[in-house]
């Protein structure tokens, strides 16, 4: 850390603006919401004045609520896994290619981010419908003989979320793979490693730190995403964010909505801390 000692600046002071903005726009609001979770529900839109843990006890003792948490994490893991499997070859290609189309392809990767999530999901709904384009294409290719339920269920949420987060994963992985000296891979191949072995024994372990970073960002965004589960799940899929939205927007149970939000937040933070520790230990 002393590497930048030459410039005698009190770096800590530069953090003051960010602390101010985040406290005002995030820290204090979340804190007051967390406080809400510790009081009883006193009717629509009213938080009571009795300090209690009853909201947390309700959450922890009801298999239904715990099930939502489990489903949320299942969604996170599925999306992260698909993003990795699909994103890795693309990231590897982008990191290693010398094609002059690389810039264009890079742009195509982030292009979906330029379209509002609302529009993207609107685009998916008819594409994935029973009589939609994708089902038509699958049947024309002879891959299936009857329409597959691609939307209005868990699968639809997975497709939409994967689509939204794949660009993040690809960008992250491309950065990491680029930092791996290509000669290291050549050395492995030269020593007899097949492409698969080269991947599993050399490239993958070396991209691990970045992969963990990408995992975290995709995972946390997935478990907290709202628009896509709401639009592509056909309101059949309940994840923590849609449940929180329902409690706060429709049931107007601020106390319990806050409780669920705090639980989600706490678990996400705990996971991040664990993963960061793990990757620090690994390197």
């Amino acid at each position: 850390m002393g590497r930048f000692a030459a410039l005698r600046v009190r770096w800590g002071l530069l953090a003051l603006p960010v602390i101010a903005v985040l406290l005002l726009a995030f820290g204090m609001p979340i804190a007051s919401m967390t406080a809400n979770s510790l009081f009883n529900h006193a009717g629509p839109g009213r938080v009571g004045s009795n300090l209690t843990l009853v909201n947390y006890i309700n959450f922890a003792t009801d298999p239904y609520y715990l099930g939502i948490l489990v489903d949320t994490f299942a969604l996170g893991f599925v999306v992260v896994s698909i993003c990795t499997v699909l994103g890795y070859p693309v990231a590897y290609f982008l990191a290693r290619t010398h094609s002059r189309w690389r810039g264009v392809l890079m742009f195509l990767v982030i292009a979906p981010l330029l379209v509002s999530a609302v529009i993207r999901n609107l685009g998916w709904i008819p594409l994935l419908g029973t009589n939609g384009f994708v089902n038509w294409a699958l049947q024309a290719l002879g891959l299936t003989d009857r329409p597959i339920a691609l939307v209005n269920n868990f699968l639809g949420v997975v497709i939409g979320t994967t689509h939204a987060l794949l660009p993040f994963m690809i960008l992250m992985l491309t950065t990491v793979i680029q930092r791996i000296n290509p000669q290291i891979e050549e050395a492995a191949v030269n020593l007899g490693a097949t492409p698969w072995k080269n991947f599993t024994q050399v490239v993958l372990p070396l991209s691990m730190p970045g992969l963990i970073g990408g995992y975290l960002i995709v995972f946390t965004i997935t478990i907290s995403s709202y628009t896509t589960p709401a639009m592509l799940g056909g309101h059949r899929v309940t994840v923590m964010s849609t449940f929180v939205a329902q409690q706060i927007r429709f049931v107007l149970n601020y106390a319990f909505g806050a409780t669920c939000a705090v639980v989600l937040m706490a678990v996400a933070i705990a996971l991040t801390v664990m993963a960061t520790r793990q990757s620090e230990r690994g390197s």
């Binding site: 939307v151 309101h235 107007l252």
Partner: protein, 349 residues
Amino acid sequence: MKRLLLAAAGLLSLTLATTAGAQQVTLRVACYGGLFTESQQKFGGSLFSTRTGIKIEWIDGNPEDHLAKLIASRGRAAPFDIVYLEESNQARAAEAGMLMKLDPKVVTNLAHLYPQAQNREGYGPAMLFWSVGISYNAKVFAEQGIPEPKSWLDLWHPKLERRFAFPDIAQGTATDLIIGTARALGGNERNTDAAFDKLGQAKPLYFYTSSSDLRAKFRAGDVWAAVWNNGRSWGMIDEGFPLKFVYPTEGGHGKLSTIDVVTGTKHPKEAMMFINQVLDPLTQLGQANQIPYGPTNKLLAPVLAAYPDLAQKFPASPEALEKLYVPDVKAVNDNYSKWVDQWNRKVKK
């Protein structure tokens, strides 16, 4: 002659005064959005602005979100001056003290509304009537040999599995589905356990929140039937789509859309003037012609009688309204959070 001149001068100065004074006044109106906001502006807002010089700004959103905002703001600084709600959210907003009672001297059109449209406690009235029933694709039903739906329970027909849509619990229409099912099974608003068991066995394609999305699914052939409202159904029928909108034998549901002044507004009088405009026969007729929801101003009855093609699309008279079942809003609100919970656990899966 002198008196006439004086009166004219007084009227002129009054007009000038309102116009000059109104330069600063902008009313923020929370409405439903899209085509509905467009027609409210076209037939109400622009007329109102021309007459009074008061500017209208539309804030679009679901009634549920408007209510959430109202409740969250708790009257500190009103997020908007006027709000379009549904009967059930109106009751909740009123209970929370977020709505103002109207002054019949300003909202003179209140006197011309059907009694069903009046609010007993003096809050905003219903600005239109609409109804909930079953919409289905008659062409596909005939091809597939599915009998025309007569009861709410006919949506459970095996051939309709994954081919029909239910409203999501976030939609006001979902409460009609719950109550309708309960009544078909011998229950009512306060006795819905059997209905939830039955709803839990249903296999809908999905639960919709957006009417536009449902429309598209009807068009694409993904959805063959849905519990839907009259206005949007007739919109499709008028386009030539082979849709039919029917009331089940247990009775279609009558529904009210309300308009209110928000507590804490800086311009209560102007807001009430605007509501008066919305209740104006001209505005109501324009609205009914654009999206077929029923006017609540009884002065329009003779006009509608002259246009039966239009009048058939909505409850156009108290008699028509009386044929519909109007659920007890208090029971709905009392049970709402319990229903959401049961819906989550039993229906949504």
